[in-house]
């Protein structure tokens, strides 16, 4: 499972980071600091929840 993030459209709600801080890393200003990543199997459920929590809907789960 992969996560893709439409990074320029991140507005810093940081809901994803609140759920899986080790994957959804933030920059100094509190905005997402990654365009995406492979999700370790153990964190797939949490990553999916984190993606769903984005109010801007800029996080996509790719299988």
């Amino acid at each position: 499972m992969k996560i893709e993030i439409d990074r320029p459209r991140c507005e810093g709600h940081a809901r994803c980071n609140a759920i899986v801080p080790e994957l959804f890393v933030l920059d100094e200003d509190g905005y997402i600091d990654t365009d995406g990543f492979d999700v370790p199997p153990a964190l797939e459920d949490d990553a999916e929840v984190a993606a769903a929590s984005c109010p801007e809907r800029v996080i996509t789960v790719v299988r």
């Binding site: 459209r9 507005e11 709600h13 200003d29 509190g30 929840v49 109010p55 801007e56």
Partner: protein, 402 residues
């Protein structure tokens, strides 16, 4: 504070370009029917994709979450300047709130670091101390007004501490805040000028003698290699003042008004006070109490209608947060919800800068309160009266404790 300055409401408008079947007599400032149950009232618009209110000069209200999200995300078409509905006048421009990208982006980035989740976390111990004092004071009583005795003093004290101000000014701050947010007309103009004068003096003092506070930090912050000038810092602080106090008060009060009436949710929180941040997220979703105005900058086909340049549009966050498209079981308050998706803090580039601070304050408030005061109810015969407008808020919430 009063609506005295607005004794005559503006005449209803019915612009030619608005389809007649979309016209509604919707006044989110003063209509008693709306103020009695604002969140439920808004739901009645959902059978239309958009309605047009004839009140306050006229404004569109889109009802679908995806349309509201798009409006927030297109600041070139839906501008944030000038703000307010009716339009705010006589105040220093609020920065970065009333700027649009690209200017907005520069100033926003300059101050967003101060409110990042990491920086906000550093304020936790101080906030816990202030909140614990207020909970201790309340726990010794049989009854309190949650608003005057808890929900107002908490964010006010936190804010004043971050501005390095002595607490004896607190009453004045509370009065200014109430007037700026809820009065219309002359009272509001007067308060705008008083707060502007106060902040200009304070910023000048901090420029001469920097301290460990927000204003001093902003004065040392650079945009395009140039330090923020004092007038800009006044504008930003004015926005913090307006956006940071009553919103937390309102969020706290809506939460307690619900909890005081729901033994099941109250017991859940009392049994596990550390779960407060999850409860806060769900309560913010269910009570998304802000209604945000934008100005349409160009003729545009949007939400199925033709909007004209100069039209105003109101983005009611509750219509996102309670939308069936955003969450399963959208009409149920569930503290165990894995990921409540909501727009309590708005969306797009103007997403509430202080959202992480607000979450922390609300979480600490609910945690410490329920550790010490697990049992409380709304006082017998209490009538809940509400402020409308941009920030909906409960005026007073008499609680019986124990």
């Amino acid at each position: 504070m009063s609506y005295a300055g607005a004794a005559a409401l503006p005449e209803p408008v019915r612009p030619d370009h608005v389809p007649v079947e979309l016209l509604r007599d919707f006044d989110h400032h003063t209509d008693p029917e709306f103020l009695a149950e604002p969140f439920e009232y808004l739901e009645r618009f959902r059978d239309q994709r958009v309605i047009f209110s004839t009140a306050w000069g006229g404004f569109w209200v889109p009802t679908r979450a995806e349309d509201i999200r798009e409006a927030y995300q297109r600041p070139d078409v839906f501008s944030n300047y000038p703000g307010g509905l009716p339009v705010r006048e006589g105040a220093p421009p609020m920065i970065p709130e009333e700027l649009d990208p690209p200017d907005h982006t520069k100033y926003r980035r300059a101050v967003s670091g101060m409110f990042s989740p990491r920086r906000v976390k550093e304020l936790e111990d101080g906030i816990r101390k202030l909140a614990a004092e207020l909970v201790d004071e309340a726990s010794g009583k049989d009854s309190i007004d949650l608003v005057d005795d808890f929900a107002v003093p908490l964010p006010t004290r936190i804010f004043m501490a971050r501005l390095g101000l002595p607490l004896e000014n607190a009453d004045l701050f509370v009065e200014w805040n109430n007037t700026l947010l809820h009065a219309l007309g002359e009272d509001k103009q007067r308060a705008n000028h008083e707060v502007g004068d106060f902040l200009r003096k304070l910023v000048a003092e901090r420029a001469a003698n920097p301290q460990d506070d927000w204003i001093s930090e902003m004065l040392a912050t650079e945009v395009d290699g140039v330090p923020l000038d004092p007038d800009t810092v006044v504008g930003i602080t004015f926005l913090f003042f307006l956006a940071g106090l009553e919103t937390v008060t309102a969020g706290t009060t809506f939460a307690f008004n619900f909890l005081a009436r729901s033994p099941e949710h109250r017991a859940k929180l009392a049994a596990d006070p550390e779960s407060a941040p999850k409860a806060v997220e769900e309560l913010l979703r269910y009570f998304s109490f802000t209604n945000i105005a934008r100005r349409v900058t160009q003729d545009v086909h949007f939400a199925g209608v033709d909007m004209r340049a100069g039209d105003r549009i109101l983005l009611c966050n509750s219509l996102v947060s309670r939308s069936p498209s955003e969450n399963d079981r959208h009409d149920v308050v569930d503290f165990d919800r894995a990921a409540p998706r909501h727009s309590a803090f708005g969306m797009g580039p103007h997403r509430c800068l202080g959202s992480h601070l607000a979450r922390l304050e609300l979480g600490i408030a609910l945690e410490l309160w329920h550790k010490k005061i697990p049992e409380y109810t709304v006082a017998d015969g209490a009538v809940i009266d509400m402020w409308g407008g941009t920030n909906m808020a409960i005026k007073h919430l008499p609680l019986k404790l124990g």
